[in-house]
Symmetry: C2
Subunit: 422 residues, 2 copies
């Protein structure tokens, strides 16, 4: 007997028919002898419907008072779907009880609309589990110290599920989603892409931050912090498939070092074309220059991803960075108007037609030559590398966006991702 | 400066446009210097939408577990509308905060779907009022001692508003509704019917129980118990009418004895045709007979309204009572099958084509001859009285339903209701 947490997204909870399917699946797990906790999202579309009503009444405001009410409003979506799931389980003959965040309680700070979980009390939930009930806990929400309702922000239900699993020391947290796991790369780009049976926490973190939108990045961080075994699996398999088959499906995100012993050097290829690159050439190489440039950008609320500064020549250096493509024009205008004049007439160049391709793998830590293999492979395809950035388990390059698919396919093949069993 | 409670029903909260109007009206009262507490219902249709989802998942069950989840589900409707009203008030530049029942808290017993309010903590609300905020409290719901969400049952928002007003010792509780007050009788039947400027608590109670569906009867009881001045007024007047005109509109339900000094003898005529009459003739007049008949009826969950037993003759008596018309056939079948056989072959007669007409007036206490004036007036119209029942401030008669409108008009005129200023 294990303590298992299931998390179901809005699509899985999208209609009474689908809620019924979720109830049948959860009941199957409970009948197999597991203690079950379920964290559902709101029915798909519900959160948007509620926030549209708020928007019709008032322009968006950033006052605490306004954000507090948005949270009161949005939190009703998960409370309703949780109660409906409890009702569906009871209809299956399975005792069940639903709790809103404040009832558990799931304690958060008071950063309305983007609160962070601080602690979860497990007493009430454990008592119900011991009494043989399935316990349903609303995702996405909590309560602050003053008793106000908070929400964790979009996608927060993943984080709720992982936090609940951590608090209860659950044996595993299963995130049911509309993909059947984590892949070596996007199967729409590389048909040979394989589902990973396991992936390390650190790799998952890099993949998530690089645009693999399988899991909300905060939930992966949380899982890493509390060593919660996390499994991403499909909510589209029939509810009545064999439980052992289901339990082994999807991708397990692991935290045990020795489980990663046989890990491939590179686990996956991530990519995105959401970025644009900006280079300032001939910048005087003196202290404070980086801040002078990026400080202005940050003040305009423009987020910077990669930053590269090469060694200087003749007291001048070139300074490059990438921003989200949506912020590109604004960033260029800002630099030309306010930054360049004070830098001694350097030149600014920008390019929005770029993409970032990254290889991710925990094995890179202990294997030399991984980056150079990446560069060779790209060079063999005649792809010019514009920028390079590395971390312990990731190497990213910026290239012309027209080569993106070619690069991803070449790298996928070069690192044998279509053949190895991860 | 006064402390005022406003209550708005589902129609008033039915769209963002209407919520905006409510916000403007409340803001007007707040700007006039009043401390404002608002108790809204869910947006019209929302509660039904939620309960239909539950019904699609599960047949109705009466287990505590099932009813608990129905309350968790239904309570989201008021939480959402309350947050929306707070947002609308903030958009008007009026500081506002919404609280769900559990946040106040509004404590109830644990009779899910029909809970009763036990106490309301005023501390948090008072602090916000003193800080200059409009406080919005969800109608219809509360929390039990174990921290489970409860609802008060349909129409419970009226009761919530009155209970909140009582807890805060509010100067007045204004119930905004789709009628503009309490009338001497239904204006659709008697065009001369007048709106009462004031009506006593006891009269209102009799009117409510007799089918004037202006206010939920429990809320009137509550208001009587705690002496909350209650005003019924229209939510359809423009929000920007003069506040003094608005404050004097509708009907005030009073509890002060001296305010009733000049009260008319009869305040209003109530009527309904929801009932059917059943008479058992020739019942042996011995102890236990009433229980033998009505016990069986009550066991079948059939509610009985009027009960009349006349003095006996030759050891036999006639026993009559009325039931809701929907229960008439079932009650007749039950009596024939299970009750009559044991009563020594009496005869049962029934009539569903009846109506009940009542005169209500606190002045009846101190004025003799009111009932006889009623009977004379009916007799002058040639209307035969089938049953009579009286209480301290009410006299009801059962007559053929075809005479209902005639009787109501005659009585309305006989007691000068179309002329006197109440």
């Amino acid at each position: 007997m294990a303590l298992i947490v299931h998390k179901y997204g809005g699509t899985s909870m999208g209609s009474t028919e689908r809620i019924s399917q979720v109830a049948k699946r959860v009941a199957k797990w409970a009948r197999a002898g597991h203690q079950m906790v379920v964290v559902p999202s709101a029915m798909s579309g519900e959160t948007n419907r509620l926030l549209a009503l708020a928007k019709a009444l008032s322009p968006a405001q950033v006052t605490q008072d306004h954000l507090r009410e948005l949270d009161m409003l949005a939190a009703t979506g998960e409370q309703a779907s949780s109660a409906l799931l409890a009702i569906a389980l009871q209809a299956e003959g399975m005792p069940a009880i639903s709790y809103a965040g404040w009832q558990v309680p799931v304690r958060t700070n008071d950063a309305y609309t983007k609160a962070r979980i601080e602690s979860i009390d497990d007493q009430r939930v454990r008592a119900d589990l011991n009494a043989g009930k399935v316990v349903i806990i609303t995702g996405f929400q909590g309560v602050d110290d003053a008793g106000h309702v908070t929400t964790l922000g979009r996608g927060g239900s993943d984080t709720s599920a992982v936090a609940v699993a951590a608090a209860l020391k659950a044996n595993e947290c299963l995130i049911y989603t509309d993909v059947d796991g984590v892949y070596t790369t996007d199967p729409r780009v590389v048909p040979e892409a394989r589902r990973l049976k396991t992936v390390s926490f650190e790799e998952m973190l890099e993949m998530a931050s690089l645009g693999s939108k399988v899991l909300q990045i905060r939930s992966v961080e949380f899982a890493g912090k509390y060593k919660v075994p996390l499994r991403v699996l499909s909510s589209f398999t029939p509810w009545d498939i064999d439980i052992h088959e289901e339990a082994a499906s999807g991708t397990l995100i692991t935290f045990e070092e020795d489980e990663q012993m046989e890990q491939a050097v590179v686990s996956g290829i991530a990519f995105n074309r959401d970025e644009a690159k900006i280079s300032i050439m001939g910048v005087p190489d003196k202290p404070g220059i980086a801040y002078q440039i990026l400080g202005a950008v940050a003040q305009a609320n423009i987020e910077v991803d990669m930053i590269i500064q090469n060694i200087s020549k003749d007291g001048k250096t070139d300074f490059s960075f990438t921003v989200h493509r949506n912020d590109y024009a604004r960033a260029m205008d800002l630099l030309k108007a306010h930054v360049l004049p004070s830098l001694g007439a350097p030149e600014v160049m920008g390019d929005a037609k770029i993409c970032k391709v990254s290889i991710v793998g925990i094995g890179m830590r202990s294997h030399v030559g991984v980056a150079s293999k990446m560069f060779r492979s790209l060079s063999e395809e005649g792809i010019n590398i514009q920028m390079i950035s590395t971390s312990e388990i990731k190497t990213s390059v910026v290239i012309d966006e027209k080569y993106m698919e070619l690069a991803v396919r070449a790298l996928h093949k070069a690192f044998d991702l279509d053949q190895n069993q991860a």
